[in-house]
Assembly symmetry: C2
Homo-oligomer: 217 residues x 2
DNA sequence: CCTTTGCTGTGAAAAGTTTGACACCCGTCA
DNA sequence: TGACGGGTGTCAAACTTTTCACAGCAAAGG
């Protein structure tokens, strides 16, 4: 009921909020008012209901007794908290397999991440179509990024080139970077980075499999 | 010096171990003995040296004073701990943009994840080549998975189909699943899951950007 | 109207994670 | 050879995150 904890949300909580939002979005847009309890959310996402309630206590939204949370309202508040209701202008650097897959996926646009530039250094790739866009040469990237007011750069080049590309993006005024390459990149404090490494996720999985085997003897 | 803490490694540590391994692998294979200190690792990955030493105390490997850790040895032990020195047999379900990008990437094979089957339900995609493989119809997947002894399934289908595909994989004997779709999937305890959601990473980033702006006034 | 019931928000305890501090170790250099 | 300096492994303190327990609210049903 107090609902003004605000200030700063711990990052472990933010990570789960993104999942709550993904979950809330699965309900679709029909108008019928739908309600969901912390227990249901917890079950769907493999958490405890207590964690869910505690997490939601960080955002400015009340559930109501006996019913739970109003899905549409919850979704709206989460979108606001996470910045998913703004339009983010995004550029992808690296038009390889992964970069092209990302640029072609509609899911991002639906969630407010508008990819409006794709760049590569390989002349053979420059000029290829990606939906309504064309791959541009990476040398055009700095002007494009500052001219178009790009907010977020997605780095999808080989590890060895990642820091260089990131530095260019930063110098051109990007405010955040999603790094998909294997190498960690370093940024000034004002530029946020999130790293997403499929290879590391697979290694985590292989460790868990190996260990689980022992557990079950 | 004691070095037999073993038993169970906390998952927060495991996640970082995967990054240490990625880092150690960047040194390449030349024979010249190379050494790295906890401070260097920390700096490269944005951690504190204390965390690095604490983490490495979980694996069966000693650094030595004044030099640090022997890169080759460290790498070997990490590969062993994480199961990156075994060969994992992997199938990808969903031959869309993302599935094909993954199947075509060599990085996984280099790290022991051998993709030996790619499946889709769309007849138009069945038969396409992916390196030395051909996309097969998803109805062939269960027999293939059990027949070929697939360990890991990668789920790259739309969210709505994810749980169904996962159930099939589980019933066919897979031991772990990497889920790339937006929806959380549920598995019996013996089957490990790791979820990797690009959309959620982007949302995390957008939250951080939004919040950082406030921080710097 | 009152009672029951199911679910919320919250404060505090428990568990887990990160950081700091320091003894000790091993090459290096005088 | 001995003292130094830059590194390690480890213990404990500080901090963060998760879980527990429960008061209190809102709907439903007598
Ligand atoms: N494909 C995947 O499934 C996958 C999975 C996990 C991680 N990754 C990572 O994503 C990155 C890209 O993977 P990919 O499969 O798309 O590789 P890719 O080789 O298909 O594509 C890399 C692209 O980057 C371009 N490039 C290289 N240096 C560049 C530079 N300095 N500036 C601009 N462009 C440059 C290349 O021309 C190429 O087109 C890699 O770091 C890889 O580790 C890929
Ligand atoms: N492309 C990306 O960059 C990206 C990023 C993040 C997440 N994802 C997620 O990855 C998944 C796939 O993305 P995509 O871009 O490759 O989409 P896509 O539409 O290109 O591919 C999906 C493929 O799955 C196949 N499919 C659907 N149902 C199936 C079933 N029951 N069995 C077997 N195959 C089935 C479809 O025929 C299609 O080929 C989605 O869940 C998406 O959310 C993709």
């Amino acid at each position: 009921m107090k609902r003004t904890k605000s200030s700063v949300i711990p990052s472990s909580v933010v990570r789960r909020l993104t999942e709550y939002l993904a979950y809330a979005q699965t309900f679709g847009n029909e108008n019928g008012d739908q309600w969901v309890s912390s227990r249901e959310i917890a079950q769907a996402l493999g958490l405890t209901s207590s964690t869910v309630r505690q997490d939601l206590s960080h955002i400015d939204f009340c559930g109501i007794s006996k019913r739970g949370y109003h899905v549409k309202g919850l979704r709206a508040v989460l979108e606001d908290t996470l910045g998913a209701n703004s339009v983010w202008r995004v550029a992808v650097v690296g038009a390889g397999n992964l970069g092209m897959a990302i640029a072609q996926n509609d899911e991002f646009r639906e969630r407010g991440f508008h990819i409006i530039g794709v760049f590569d250094k390989d002349a053979a790739k420059v000029g290829r179509s990606v939906g309504p866009l064309k791959v541009q040469h990476v040398s055009a990237m700095p002007d494009f990024v500052s001219g178009e007011g790009i907010d977020i750069g997605i780095v999808a080049v080989p590890a060895a080139a990642a820091q260089g590309v990131a530095d260019l993006l930063i110098a051109s005024g990007v405010r955040g970077i999603l790094n998909l390459s294997l190498s960690h990149i370093i940024t000034p404090r004002r530029v946020q980075v999130v790293e997403a490494r499929l290879t590391c996720s697979l290694l985590e999985l292989s460790h868990r499999i190996k260990y689980a085997r022992k557990e079950n003897k």
